[in-house]
């Protein structure tokens, strides 16, 4: 699924746009705990995983870089601080923001075919 398709589904907008329009999202993680995101980071050479989170500080961007997560969705319409945006631009990690709550955002993605990142295991 493209980021543009996710924008439509979640009625979201880009805070940091993608440099690469061919990103194909297949998996998602949802967490407000950074170690959690890292604990369930699976071997992946392709950029296919998105993080759905309520946290907006810049450590979220760093964690995604480390975990190989290729885009971030901020839920509850939360606008991040300026240094989060700046780091995401520098690290080329697109950021989307949706007014949906965490549960609704995840449910919408799931019912449209996005799978949990832990289901990547064993592939």
């Amino acid at each position: 699924m493209t980021l543009d398709a996710i924008i439509k589904l979640l009625n979201a907008k880009f805070l940091v746009g993608p440099r690469d329009s061919i990103i194909d999202i297949k998996f998602a993680k949802a967490s407000d705990l950074m170690s959690d995101v890292l604990a369930f980071s699976e071997p992946c050479s392709v950029a296919d995983t998105i993080l759905v989170t309520g946290l907006t500080n810049k450590q979220v961007v760093r964690t995604c870089e480390i975990a190989g997560v290729c885009a971030i969705v901020f839920v509850r319409g939360k606008n991040p601080p300026a240094d989060t945006i700046k780091l995401a631009q520098n690290s080329k990690i697109p950021i989307l923001v949706t007014k949906l709550k965490m549960f609704e955002a995840c449910g919408t993605l799931y019912s449209n075919g996005i799978k949990g990142a832990s289901s990547k295991k064993g592939k």
């Binding site: 890292l38 500080n57 979220v60 690290s91």
Partner: protein, 147 residues
């Protein structure tokens, strides 16, 4: 087994510096990318480095991270000066955390950092002296043919 050292780099980590926290680990990741290390190995090294770096930022005054790349393995050594860990077995338990409310608000304090480090290492050693500091040694094997 005899193995050649390909690269060695050191990084300083400042306790309490949440603004720059994680930068050394990103640098390590980029260095390993540049020299063409396998992406799954890079991911493991990056996770280990980042969790260790965050622990220094959260629980110590000052730390150093040393990266050694050999032809058949990667070593990370992280030493800090700080409060040290009283009970290492307890600290290693998933979910155990002494993170402050402020750290939790930033998304830390799941108590998963040390277990994550162990899980991603081939060899993991931790030593700590209370009120002095903590030392981690991590080895990750490079499974190349001549390894």
């Amino acid at each position: 087994m005899q193995s050649k050292i390909l690269l060695q780099q050191n990084f300083e980590i400042k306790g309490g510096d949440f603004i720059n926290a994680g930068e050394s680990s990103i640098k390590i990741r980029n260095i390993l990318k540049d020299i063409g290390i396998d992406s799954d190995i890079i991911r493991r090294v990056a996770i280990v480095a980042y969790e260790a770096e965050m622990n220094v930022v959260m629980y110590a005054r000052h730390g150093k991270m040393h990266l050694y790349v050999y032809s058949n393995k990667i070593l990370l050594k992280i030493e800090d000066r700080g409060q040290g860990i009283k009970d290492i077995d307890l600290a290693m338990q998933p979910g155990y955390s002494t993170a402050t409310e402020e750290m939790r608000e930033m998304g830390f304090g799941a108590g998963m950092g040390l277990p994550n480090i162990k899980k991603n290492s081939d060899v993991f050693n931790i030593n700590s002296t209370i009120r002095e500091g903590t030392k981690l040694e991590i080895k990750i094997n490079l499974n190349n043919k001549n390894g």
